[in-house]
Amino acid sequence: MPEPKLRVDAVMSDIERDVRTRLRRHLIKRGGAAEYHDEELFELVRATLARAVEERNLDATLLPELLDTDVDWRLQTHLSLSSHRPVAGRFILFFKRRVLLPMTRWLFEYSQDNFRRQDHLNRVLFACLEELALENARLRRDLATRLAKP
C-alpha cells in the first residue's frame, strides 16, 4: 500500500500559522498596537498588507499616476549627464564622463544602490496604500448596498 502523501500546502499552512502567532506575540511584547491582542483582527491587518507586498504589481499602482504633477517626485536612479552650454558643453560633458565620473564612481554606485532601495520601498508603500484604499472602497460599496436594501 503506498504511503500517504505529505502535502506541502498542509505543512506550509501549519508553519505559516505558527509564524503568524509568533509575530503577533513579538509585536505585542514590543508594545505594538493594542488591537493585536485580538487574533482575528491581527490576521485581517496582516492579510491586507501581505496582499499589497506579495500580490500587487509594484509597477502598476494608481497613486504614482495621481502624483504626476508639475513637481517631479520620482527618484532618478539612472545618471544622465548634460550641459546647457552650446560650445563648451561638449568639453564639460567629456570631463564629467571621462574624469569626474570615474573618480567618484564608488560614491555614485553607493548612492545609486540606495536610491534603488528607496525607490523599491516607495513602490511597496504605494502598493500598501492602494490595498487599503481598495479595501476601503469595497467596504463602502458593501455598506451602501446594505443601507440601500429596504
Binding site: 505529505l6 506541502v8 509564524v19 539612472h78
Partner: protein, 386 residues
C-alpha cells in the same frame, strides 16, 4: 525536419540557463532531425566578448554556426537604460535600444536569418530578452517557435515585448507560471507546450569521498549556482545568519562562483566553483537544497536535487519556484526570515518528513521531466506549427 536553434551563446562549457537548455534540446532533437545551432562567438554573458572562433563547428555532434559580436556590452549605459525603460518612462525607441544594448550585437547572425531562415522548416529561438531573438524572430515569423524563458521581471511588462510575442507560430514554455505570464501578452490559440527540461535518472548512489577534504559539518544545507545578489544570495545569507544566531548548529554551503562578498562566518562555507562530482555528492549528502532566487524561469538545480531525492527550501516570492514545490510536494517555501527559520527547522527536525518530500520531488521528475516525455511534447508543437 530541417531545424535551426537560435541562441545568444552556445558551448559545451556553458552550463545552465537558457543556453544549457538549448544545448540539451538541440542534442536530443538531433536524433530525429537535421539541426543547426545559430549563435554568436561569445562566451561571457556580461560583456559578450568574442571567444569561440567564428564559422562552422561541431559540438557534441550538433552543427553550430557562430557569428562574431561587433560590440561589447556597456554595462553602465545598459543599467541606465534599464532604469528608464523598466520605469515605463522610455519611448518605443528607448525600448528597442534596450534590446540592442542588452545584445549580443551580431549583425552576421541577423543577416544569416534574413538570407537563409526560409531554408529551415522551423526556427526555434531561445530567450526573448536578447537581441538575436528580438531582431531575428521577426525575420522568420511564419516558422518561428519561441522558447521565451520569461521570468517575472520588469521586462515582461515593456510595450515592445507585446508585438514580439504576437509573431511566433508556437511556444515552448518551461513552467505553467511562465505560460501564464507570456499568455497575457501573446496572441491566443498558438500551439504551445510546457516542456521544462529533460533529465536522465541519477546514475546510482553518488561517491561521497569528494566531500572529505572540504571540511563540511553535518548537518548542512546547500545552495548551488552563481553566488550573486540578483540570485537572492544576499537575502539568503541574511536569513541564514539570523537563523544561526539562534544557536542552531547547521551549515550553509554555497557552491558556485561568487560575484559578491560572502560573510566570514563559521556557519557559512563558500566552496566557489565545484566539479560535477562534488556537486553530485553535495546534493546527495545535504539535508536540503536552498533556492533563494526571486526570479527563475525553471531552475535546473531544483530538478537535479529532486533527481537525487533531496527536498528543497525555496523563495516563495518566486512564483515559479513556489509553483514547482507545490506541484511536486517536494519541499517548503519562505517569504521572510521567520518563515525561513521555521521551514528549515521543520526540514532538520523531521528527517522522515524531509525524506518523504525529497522522494515526492523525485516522483515528480519521473512523471514530468524524463527526456521521452519532454521530446514528445516538443515534437507535438513542431508538428502543429507547420
Amino acid at each position: 525536419m530541417k531545424l535551426a536553434c537560435v541562441v545568444h551563446r552556445y558551448g559545451a562549457d556553458i552550463a545552465g540557463g537558457s543556453e544549457g537548455h538549448c544545448r540539451l534540446v538541440a542534442e536530443h532533437l538531433g536524433a530525429r532531425h537535421d539541426v543547426t545551432v545559430v549563435t554568436t562567438t561569445a562566451r561571457d554573458h556580461i560583456t559578450w566578448g568574442n571567444h569561440y572562433p567564428a564559422g562552422e563547428a561541431s559540438v557534441d555532434g550538433v552543427r553550430v554556426l557562430r557569428f562574431p559580436v561587433v560590440r561589447q556590452r556597456h554595462m553602465h549605459r545598459f543599467m541606465d537604460l534599464s532604469d528608464l525603460v523598466f520605469a515605463d518612462r522610455g519611448t518605443h525607441g528607448d525600448e528597442e535600444q534596450w534590446f540592442r544594448e542588452n545584445g549580443p550585437d551580431a549583425p552576421g547572425l541577423i543577416d544569416f536569418l534574413r538570407q537563409h531562415g526560409g531554408e529551415f522548416d522551423r526556427v526555434l529561438f531561445w530567450a526573448y530578452r536578447y537581441a538575436n531573438s528580438y531582431f531575428g524572430l521577426p525575420l522568420v515569423p511564419d516558422r518561428a517557435v519561441l522558447v521565451p524563458t520569461a521570468e517575472e521581471d520588469p521586462l515582461i511588462h515593456v510595450d515592445a515585448v507585446g508585438p514580439l510575442f504576437a509573431l511566433p507560430r508556437g511556444f515552448l514554455f518551461l513552467t505553467p507560471e511562465e505560460e501564464t505570464l507570456v499568455s497575457m501578452r501573446a496572441a491566443p490559440g498558438r500551439p504551445s507546450q510546457v516542456i521544462g527540461c529533460g533529465l536522465d535518472p541519477a546514475p546510482g548512489p553518488a561517491d561521497l569521498s569528494p566531500l572529505d577534504a572540504l571540511g563540511l559539518a553535518d548537518p548542512f544545507v546547500v545552495y548551488v549556482g552563481r553566488v550573486d545578489p540578483n540570485k537572492g544570495c544576499q537575502a539568503l545569507m541574511r536569513h541564514f545568519l539570523r537563523y544561526a544566531e539562534q544557536g542552531r548548529a547547521v551549515q550553509l554551503v554555497m557552491a558556485g562562483p561568487a560575484s559578491m562578498p560572502i560573510p566570514s562566518h563559521p556557519s557559512i562555507k563558500a566552496l566557489g566553483f565545484v566539479s560535477d562530482a562534488v556537486r553530485e555528492a553535495l546534493l546527495t549528502r545535504a539535508r536540503a537544497l536552498v533556492m533563494p532566487s526571486p526570479f527563475e524561469s525553471l531552475s535546473m538545480v531544483l530538478l537535479e536535487a529532486w533527481n537525487r531525492g533531496l527536498p528543497a527550501l525555496v523563495n516563495a516570492r518566486c512564483k515559479v519556484l513556489r509553483g514547482q514545490v507545490v506541484r511536486a510536494d517536494g519541499g517548503l517555501y519562505y517569504g521572510n526570515t521567520t518563515e525561513f527559520g521555521a521551514a528549515l527547522d521543520y526540514l532538520l527536525d523531521r528527517p522522515d518528513a524531509a525524506r518523504a518530500l525529497g522522494q515526492q520531488g523525485l516522483a515528480y521528475v519521473d512523471r514530468e521531466y524524463r527526456w521521452p516525455v519532454v521530446m514528445e511534447k516538443i515534437e507535438r508543437v513542431l508538428a502543429q506549427t507547420g
